[in-house]
């Protein structure tokens, strides 16, 4: 059994309700973001005969932990605090074991592990496994006003929505095999894209 997220980027307005509801549910500090909403875009403006022409594009991508098949955070953890749960494939950190060395943070290409400055140990999205064990969905999924997020057995999601996950600004999925499926925005660029950039670095 492996859980995963479906992210409908074509529907996402970038409203951040997922990020904020998670913050409320998990009671995280300012600066700690278990879910981050990337504003990716670009384009240039040229003036001809006094008129502006542009090819601006933008889209949002809401990313938490992707509970990867090959979680590099787990592989690099010296204490075993960062672990992948057998029963549901969710990647969770045991804060009683973590020594706060932050290797996982350095290794994760998605920025999922978040350092808890109060406790001096790592914290991260745990897939809301407590809620899930009660038959609920993660709070981000349940809170999305656009219904642009889903959470389920990754096989079920792949069957419904395909296998796309190589979307900028995410790295190529071959790195850690993230358990996510993305419905792409019409302007989506592939992982490794250099045309666009993250337009909201201060918000992620």
């Amino acid at each position: 059994m492996q859980y995963g997220f479906y992210i409908n980027s074509a529907k996402c307005t970038g409203c951040k309700t997922c990020q904020v509801s998670c913050k409320d549910e998990k009671d995280t500090d300012i600066g700690t973001k278990f879910r981050r909403v990337y504003e990716y875009g670009g384009g240039s403006w040229q003036q001809t005969n006094g008129l502006w022409q542009n090819n601006t594009f933008a889209y949002y991508l809401s990313i938490s932990c992707n509970h990867c098949e090959e979680p590099t955070c787990v592989h690099g953890c010296p204490t075993g605090a960062m672990h992948k749960r057998k029963e549901d494939g969710l990647v969770v950190v045991d804060q009683d074991v973590c020594v706060g060395c932050r290797y996982c943070e350095m290794r994760c290409p998605y920025g999922a592990p978040q350092f808890d400055h109060q406790k001096r140990v790592m914290s991260k999205c745990d897939g809301c496994y407590e809620r899930v064990s009660q038959g609920l969905k993660p709070v981000c999924v349940d809170s999305c006003p656009q219904r642009a997020l889903e959470f389920d057995d990754i096989n079920v999601l792949r069957e419904k929505y395909g296998n796309e996950r190589d979307i900028a600004p995410l790295p190529n999925s071959s790195l850690t095999k993230p358990n996510i499926v993305i419905n792409t925005h019409a302007h989506a660029k592939c992982s490794g894209d250099t045309i666009g950039r993250i337009l909201n670095p201060e918000e992620i």
Binding site: A10, K11, C12, T13, G14, C15, K16, T17, Q19, V20, S21, K23, D24, E25, K26, D27, T28, D29, I30, G31, K33, V37, G41, G42, G43, S44, W45, G50, L51, W52, Q53, N54, T56, A58, G80, H83, R85, K86, E87, D94, Q95, D96, Q118, Y129, E130, S133, Q134, D142, S143, C144, P145, Q146, R147, H185, H187, L199, N200, P201, E202, E203
Partner: protein
């Protein structure tokens, strides 16, 4: 390794410690003792009035002025809110039975409740007015002062010296302070009210001249529901951004998605910003310079005439003033809209796409293409946000956009609208009667500073006051309930400060709010209000949630914090001190009124459960309006003879004789023009203001951000980190000034200065800056607004007809801040 489920209740247990970091604990520490053990690993227990450490859930709602209304489940342990969640809905898969999901702001109610900037007890000013220095007083002293100041004002100047200030911090709250404050004032002989709103004064004033008056401009009498877009093949939105301004998952953002999924209509959004609706609805973005929408419409019209795309017969049937044939008697030759377009009018300028491209920044080719796209559409939905009209020539711009669906025949048919926002259906709910106001004079919402500064100069003809020819007395008493207007949301805050600081003009300022806002700092008497989660109410879906309408019972989730009291109870004390208690209360408690309003609501809808059965229910009833019954101007389109409009001619008045009369009767500023047709007018501080642009080369527009609703929620760090306030600037303008993304910049003009980080983004047209409105004003010792409040830069020059707020028309420059 498998250590599952160990920290079962970990996060909740650490709520108090964690709150230290988010600022809530300073407040909490004063009131609560820390529980030693914060709960066992038990599941949420949905039993009311549970004992210690058990979770209870109450229904409240987010009461800010976004136009939607989200019910909230408030989770509470030991009288402390632990989290917020959504109501359940009936079936989320079915539109119209779906969960009403709050946006990030509704989800932030816990932090807003315990924010350290909450007001905690009544206070009296001790420093200079506006300085923000107060001393704590008792409720008895506070109600004494309020009663005696009211008595003094009425005895000395009369009731027309009392002004009830615009304020929307508790929008939708049916029974709480807003209506009740007015009720008390009415029992005392009345007060001067405002007309219009800061949101939409210009469009609401101008719309009746075109389509006739209706009882409900927000609703469906003259606006189609977004659901009709399921029948559209094209959607054209001017300055409209549903994804940010109507964010509730129960509201219009969801309705629009739903409709577009059915029709797959192409969406075009015309806006200076590539706003979030462009992204969300994969729209074609047409960047436009602020204040030039009427020029775009004129050039579209020109194209349609040239391309023979105008159905002259249809326009003759439905309109007055399209061409010289249909001008009203006595109108000057060639004063019709078509003559204006073709250059036969006074200005002698044909409104060609080439003419418009110089003004709008949109290429003539794109304008022609847009004209043909609209003309070719089977059912084009045309709508506008309210940013377009919140400009110096906003009445004309808004009216021009409303003219577009008429000229193209896209009105009164399925899938069409009439260039207005798009409608909403309100669930009918009874409210507390505010009684009738013996004072009949009202002033435009934006004119109160003038009414303080030089009140007796305001007349019906120079300032659009209603109910009287002129004001006989200036404002001496400002009643500000749930309002952050006087120190934050009004224009030109530096000028406003000068007016308010003079205690000989406005003699007394009451501010009654939940937070120490920038406006609260101007209070003489400062009263702390309960927040939505500390009080009860009976409310509906507000004024712009769309087709989905519902009735919510709010029940206090926690006891009032600190010394805060229910507004009604405080007003009852004041009424008693003024010997009007019986008239004010009619012998009823606050709870009695809620029950009475419910019973009145139920009388019209007998299917509703009894009041007792609604206990703990939250959303009591929900309905989905049939949008086919809400198509703007359908009756008129079907039968213009027997279903005439309420205009003087009974038709759509592209030329309004009434406006022509006003233009000659009123005393207008010599720089103001009022046309009987929706002409494009150059604005002071607009794209044609050569002298202005020479000094300040950038246009500055405000916009509504997801991070806050006006100024509500704007102080919460949890929302600031999710959606940072920043000034949007195109890379081309930024590079010229060596500004890089994230750097602190100063935006300035002759009226003031502010600091904000720069958001360097291609998502805004060059030559234009955009700042989210609503940031909390805060000046440093040099008078610079370090809170980033746009109103440090906006102008108090009222618009020509509505005398409304032109807060998106400003010229500024920006520079990198060197500290």
């Amino acid at each position: 390794m498998d250590n599952t489920n160990k920290p079962q209740n970990f996060s909740r247990r650490n709520f108090l410690q964690k709150s230290l970091l988010v600022g809530g604990a300073a407040a909490l520490m004063n009131k609560f003792t820390m529980p030693l053990a914060y709960g066992q690993a038990d599941l949420p227990a949905k039993v009311p009035f549970a004992g210690e450490n058990q979770e209870t859930i109450s229904y409240s709602a987010c009461l800010v002025n976004c136009g939607s209304r989200c019910p909230l489940k408030v989770h509470v342990k030991n009288d402390i809110i632990t989290k917020i969640s959504s109501e359940d809905g009936i079936n989320d898969a079915i539109f119209g039975q779906h969960q009403i999901r709050p946006c990030l702001r509704g989800r932030a109610v816990r932090w807003r409740t315990y924010n350290p900037e909450r007001l905690k007890f009544p206070m009296l000013r001790v420093g200079k007015r506006g300085e923000g220095k107060f001393k704590r007083i008792s409720w008895d002293e506070a109600t004494d002062i309020l009663a005696s100041k009211l008595r003094h004002t009425i005895d000395t100047y009369g009731n027309e010296a009392i002004f009830y200030q615009y304020g929307s911090g508790t929008t939708g709250a049916n029974l709480s302070g807003r209506g009740m404050s007015k009720r008390l004032l009415n029992t005392l002989g009345g007060f001067v009210d405002y007309h219009g709103t800061y949101s939409d004064a210009q469009i609401m004033t101008i719309q009746p001249y075109l389509f006739g008056s209706t009882n409900n401009n927000y609703g469906t009498q003259l606006q189609s529901l977004f659901d009709q877009i399921k029948h559209s093949d094209l959607v054209v939105m001017f300055g409209q951004n549903i994804a940010e301004t109507r964010m509730s998952g129960g509201g219009q953002v969801t309705e629009l998605y739903h409709a577009l999924a059915e029709s797959n209509a192409k969406v075009i959004i015309i806006d200076p910003r590539c706003n979030d609706s462009v992204v969300a609805y994969n729209a074609d973005w047409i960047p436009i310079r602020p204040g030039t929408d009427a020029a775009l419409v004129a050039a579209i019209s020109y194209t349609l005439i040239q391309e023979n795309r105008i159905d002259e017969e249809m326009l003759a049937k439905y309109c007055v003033g399209w061409d010289s044939q249909s001008l009203p008697e006595g109108a000057p030759l060639n004063s019709d809209y078509k003559s204006y377009i073709l250059g036969l009018g006074k200005d002698n300028v044909a409104k060609t796409p080439e003419w418009a491209e110089k003004l709008t920044g949109i290429s003539a080719q794109r304008i022609r293409q847009l004209a043909l796209e609209i003309s070719d559409a089977k059912a084009a939905w045309i709508s506008q946000g309210w940013g377009v009209q919140r400009t110096q020539t906003g009445e004309h711009a808004a009216r021009a956009i409303m003219t577009l669906p008429i000229m193209t025949g896209h009105f009164g048919r399925p899938g069409t609208n009439i260039g207005t926002w798009g409608g909403s259906v309100a669930y009918p709910v009874a409210g507390m009667p505010t009684l009738s106001n013996p004072v009949k004079v009202t002033i435009p919402v934006f004119m109160w500073t003038k009414a303080i500064d030089d009140g007796e100069s305001l007349t019906a003809k120079n300032a659009f006051i209603k109910g009287k020819d002129k004001l006989d007395v200036g404002i001496k008493f400002l009643w500000n309930y749930a309002s952050n207007v006087i120190g934050n949301q009004h224009a030109d805050l530096n000028k406003t400060h000068q007016i308010l600081a003079d205690e000989s003009k406005c003699e007394f300022i009451l501010v009654w709010d939940t937070h120490m806002t920038a406006s609260a700092k101007y209070a003489d008497l400062l009263l702390p209000d309960v927040s939505g989660v500390e009080t009860s109410d009976l409310i509906n879906n507000s004024y712009q949630s769309g087709a989905y309408n519902y009735l919510i019972r709010m029940q206090a989730a926690i006891k009032p914090l600190w010394e805060n009291r229910i507004t009604y109870d405080v007003l009852t004390d004041v009424a008693e001190k003024l010997n009007v208690k019986d008239a004010f209360t009619e012998g009823k408690s606050y709870q009695d009124w809620i029950e009475l309003c419910y019973e009145q609501t139920r009388a019209n809808n007998p299917d509703l459960p009894t009041f007792t059965k609604t206990d703990g229910q939250g959303v009591i009833d929900r309905r989905l309006a049939d949008s086919n019954e809400h198509i703007a101007l359908k009756d008129f389109r079907d039968d213009p003879i027997n279903q005439p409009l309420k205009t003087p001619s009974g038709k759509i008045e592209l030329y309004s004789q009434t406006l022509a009369n006003i233009a000659s009767d009123w005393e207008l500023d010599e720089k103001d023009k009022l046309y009987p047709i929706p002409a494009y007018l150059p604005a002071i501080e607009g794209v044609e203001d050569v002298a202005g642009l020479e000094k300040y080369p950038l246009q500055l527009t405000g916009y509504h951000t997801k991070g806050h609703c006006h100024s509500s929620y704007a102080n919460l760090p949890q929302l600031k980190e999710a959606s940072a306030d920043a000034v949007w600037i195109n890379p081309i303008d930024a590079e010229k000034r060596q500004i890089k993304h994230g750097q602190l910049v100063e935006v300035y003009n002759d009226r003031g200065r502010l600091y904000l980080p720069a958001k360097v983004t291609p998502r805004i047209i060059p030559g234009v800056l955009a700042i989210p409105q609503g940031a909390w004003a805060k000046t440093n010792k040099d008078g610079v607004d370090i809170g980033g409040c746009i109103n440090r830069l906006t102008s108090q020059r009222p618009t020509v007809l509505a005398k409304g707020n032109p807060q998106h028309t400003n010229l500024v420059d920006v520079k990198l801040l060197s500290l």
